[in-house]
């Protein structure tokens, strides 16, 4: 395939960009397989919550953030109030304010283009593409597009074929989420300050779980990065 493109593209950076996108998609492939399984379980939950077929698909495509979508739909499925479902999801997604700032330097083009590219930021695409705060643009786009395809197609499979899969919890799917984040974390622990940030973030979240509303412990974990930095300088 690459041979076919080389005649069209004269600019060297463009071919580098293409191989970088492919590398990102390859790197994220095992995660994308897991993400499609999560998508199936989200689709099943959404169907059980009476969301219909189209709404869960639009949800996965626009929000594209698993934990927030699960939180919102779980609240609805348990008969919770509408504002509670919205607040839980938005709180969980507050971290994307920070991730959005982190990926901003890697985005290109006009405002509309950058706004669209920023939507591709999810925990996994960001973690796969970043090292020491620097984002590889091609890896980011490749990883994110593979994840988006996996997540939305998984959602469709879950919504349409839900009944034949049974209860995702009985397969232990919910334990796969933290396991995936653990694997991503291992790849981020290159320095002592990173290790310190992780320990602080985990501890802060742990302490806040019993006292703060859902979503707050994860956002508060971000302050672990600040404290780790201060500690490193002292």
């Amino acid at each position: 395939m690459q041979m076919d493109y080389s005649s069209i593209i004269t600019e060297r950076p463009a071919t580098d960009m293409r191989s970088s996108i492919v590398a990102g998609a390859r790197a994220v492939l095992p995660i994308a397989i897991a993400a499609s399984a999560f998508g199936v379980s989200f689709g099943i939950l959404a169907r059980d919550a009476g969301m219909g077929v189209v709404a869960p698909l639009v949800f996965s495509f626009t929000t594209f953030a698993g934990s927030a979508q699960f939180a919102a739909v779980s609240v609805l499925e348990q008969g919770g109030a509408l504002p509670a479902a919205i607040v839980a999801a938005v709180l969980l997604n507050l971290r994307y304010l920070a991730i959005g700032v982190a990926v901003a330097p890697a985005l290109r083009g006009g405002r509309a283009r950058r706004l669209a590219e920023a939507q591709l930021a999810v925990d996994e695409s960001w973690a796969v593409a970043q090292s020491d705060g620097h984002i590889d643009r091609g890896r980011f786009l490749g990883a994110a597009l593979a994840l988006l395809a996996a997540w939305t197609s998984g959602t469709a499979l879950g919504v349409l074929g839900g009944g034949s899969f049974g209860d995702p919890q009985s397969y232990g799917i919910d334990a796969m989420f933290p396991a995936l984040f653990l694997a991503l974390l291992v790849g981020q622990l290159g320095s002592r300050s990173a290790l310190r940030a992780a320990l602080l973030g985990g501890t802060i979240a742990l302490v806040l779980i019993p006292v703060a509303p859902a979503g707050v412990p994860v956002i508060a974990a971000v302050t672990g990065a600040l404290i780790a930095l201060q500690g490193g300088r002292a």
């Binding site: 919550a49 219909g52 509408l82 232990g172 396991a179 984040f181 508060a220 971000v222």
Partner: protein, 104 residues
Amino acid sequence: MSTPWIVVLTVGAATIALKGAGTLLLGSRTLPSPAQAVIALLAPSLLAGLIVVQTLAADGALAIDARLAGVAAAAVALALRAPLLVALAAAAAVAAAARALGAA
């Protein structure tokens, strides 16, 4: 409008704004280096927070259940340098087994 659509559109719009705010406000400017140093440490702190919450939080309280057994199994698999999908499968299988044996 039905409840699911209100959730989908409200949360969708809020998420688009949250993800997009960084690039719209920053443009092509780069952050000062102290802020960059913090951003470099965001990933480990945030991922650790997510792991703790998704392993131990249940309805606003701490809970030790089948998920912890699953994540422990994944940790062992990762320590043994198993491929990611093997580690994830171990997490799911051990959590499912713990649940089948009566863990919550």
